[in-house]
């Protein structure tokens, strides 16, 4: 039973389906994280209180464990699939030209944009989640001033540029990944596939522009 399930789970088709599903779940995370971050525009109290409410809920550990599992599955499978794909053509072409009717810039750079996002993710956790800790009191409750950690970090123009660069890579990654996930799962329709491709691009723009606006906003706050 277990060995037979493993046989199907390790097939090329199912591995791609797991990539697609974890990718779509991560798109959901991107959206919810973006909405949470937008509280920064309302000022330190709204953002810090939101962050405090999140991290003091005991369920956060369960949520973080699930999120980490999704991330690690997506990254681990990506590494395995890319390795297998390279192995499938040991002798490369002397000349290789795209038809111009199939692959896009986004589709052909998925492993590279993925690596940029991975590097970003690690730095992002170090800089913010495990970054400098300041304490502030809002409405009589003592909590971490994560707002200050973020605004301080984005006082460096290099930090702002690196962040926006990574968000562009993220947008490119999801612009292909979004519809591609549906294709891998097996959803194809003469009308809705076009719509999904379009929706993927709209989502990419929302994510890139939405996330890139925050460091600019923080930079404009000026130093304290």
């Amino acid at each position: 039973m277990a060995s037979s399930m493993l046989k199907y789970a390790t097939s090329s088709v199912v591995k791609k389906q797991v990539m697609g599903i974890t990718g779509l779940l991560l798109c959901g995370f991107l959206l919810s994280h973006l909405i949470g971050n937008c509280l920064m525009y309302l000022g330190p109290e709204a953002f810090n209180t939101y962050a405090h409410t999140l991290v003091t809920n005991p369920l956060i550990y369960v949520a973080e464990a699930i999120l980490a599992t999704i991330f690690l599955t997506h990254i681990g499978l990506a590494a395995q699939l890319t390795y297998e794909n390279n192995k499938a053509r040991p002798q490369k072409y002397y000349v290789k030209q795209k038809t111009g009717r199939g692959a896009t810039f986004a589709s052909s750079t998925m492993p590279y944009t993925g690596l940029i996002i991975l590097a970003f993710l690690i730095l992002h956790l170090i800089q913010f989640k495990f970054g400098p800790e300041y304490v502030i009191t809002h409405s009589g409750v003592e909590m971490r001033d994560i707002y200050k950690t973020v605004v301080d970090y984005f006082q460096s123009p290099i930090a702002v540029i690196w962040y926006i660069f990574c968000m562009i890579a993220l947008g490119i990654h999801v612009s292909h990944g979004f519809w591609s996930a549906f294709q891998s799962i097996g959803f194809w329709h003469p009308k809705y596939t076009c719509l999904l491709k379009c929706l993927g691009k709209v989502f990419a723009v929302i994510v890139t522009v939405g996330y890139s606006a925050l460091p600019i906003f923080c930079y404009l706050q000026g130093g304290n």
Binding site: S4, K7, Y8, S11, S12, V13, V14, K15, K16, Q17, L81, E84, N85, K87, A88, R89, P90, Q91, K92, Y93, Y94, V95, K96, Q97, K98, T99, G100, R101, G102, A103, T104, S107, S108, M110, H176, W179, S180, Q183, S184, I185, G186, F187, W188, P190, T193
Partner: protein
């Protein structure tokens, strides 16, 4: 035709003695090529010249030269079957090239398609995939009455579209991952869309995907270069169909 229309071409052709030795790109210059010649006829002219000079001719796969058998292959300037959409190499004409142009000719490359000699490759892997499930078991004997098995018109059309696959391997050659998903999905779809193919549909998709993986083809990354390079215009909607058929068969599998 006046002789001033004839083409002079610089060819860079992959030469490899056998599947053991390393190959290399060799330069040839050829002149007097009619723009109305097919790409394979141009290679025939080159080979006649090589033979007359006492050299080994370039080995390449070909058979019907009518665009329907799937034997011809070749990466021409980095594109499977050359630059023309929905055209096999044998149907590609030299008028699509400029006088004095350099043309790079290589074999289709994939771990599952070893080079036998020069531009000839071994596509037995495709036969192995078909043998693993790309067929239907039917009773032989008298043909039954026409229309005794009803097939929706749309399904008949989709099955015919999938059945247009000639198994040339351009999908594998053009895919950056050397994935055989377009070929396998076309062969799964042409049967699973019809009532006659339903009986063995689940076993078929499981066995054919498993054989494809075993033979060392890469994984699909949904870039659609296969569809763009396919001389028969097979759609990647077949890949989506196979993905959902496989998922459904894997979930329902009792083994």
């Amino acid at each position: 035709m006046s002789s001033d229309n004839l083409l002079t071409l610089n060819l860079k052709i992959w030469r490899q003695k056998n599947n053991k030795e390393k190959g290399e790109i060799v330069d040839y210059t050829i002149d007097g090529i009619s723009p109305d010649a097919s790409f394979l006829e141009m290679l025939d002219v080159l080979n006649e010249k090589l033979i007359a000079e006492g050299n080994d001719p370039v080995a390449f796969d070909h058979d019907c030269r009518e665009g329907i058998c799937g034997m011809c292959s070749l990466m021409i300037n980095g594109q499977a079957h050359g630059p023309e959409a929905e055209t096999t190499t044998c149907q590609l004409h030299m008028r699509k090239f400029q006088n004095g142009e350099t043309i790079v000719v290589e074999p289709f490359r994939a771990r599952a398609f070893p080079v036998l000699k020069d531009l000839m490759i071994d596509r037995t892997a495709f036969d192995d995939i078909i043998a693993s499930g790309g067929f239907v078991n039917v009773n032989t004997g008298n043909a039954q009455d026409a229309n005794s098995i009803l097939v929706p018109k749309e399904n008949a059309e989709l099955a015919m579209d999938a059945a247009a696959c000639i198994g040339c391997g351009a999908c594998v050659a053009s895919c950056k991952n050397a994935s055989a998903m377009l070929f396998v999905s076309a062969k799964v779809s042409q049967l699973s869309l019809l009532p006659q193919g339903q009986l063995e549909a689940e076993e078929r998709v499981k066995n054919m995907v498993s054989k494809m993986d075993e033979l060392g083809f890469g994984n699909c990354t949904n870039e659609a270069e296969c569809e763009a390079s396919c001389p028969k215009g097979i759609s990647i909607s077949n890949i989506a169909r196979m993905n959902r058929d496989f998922l459904s068969a894997a979930v329902k599998a009792k083994d």
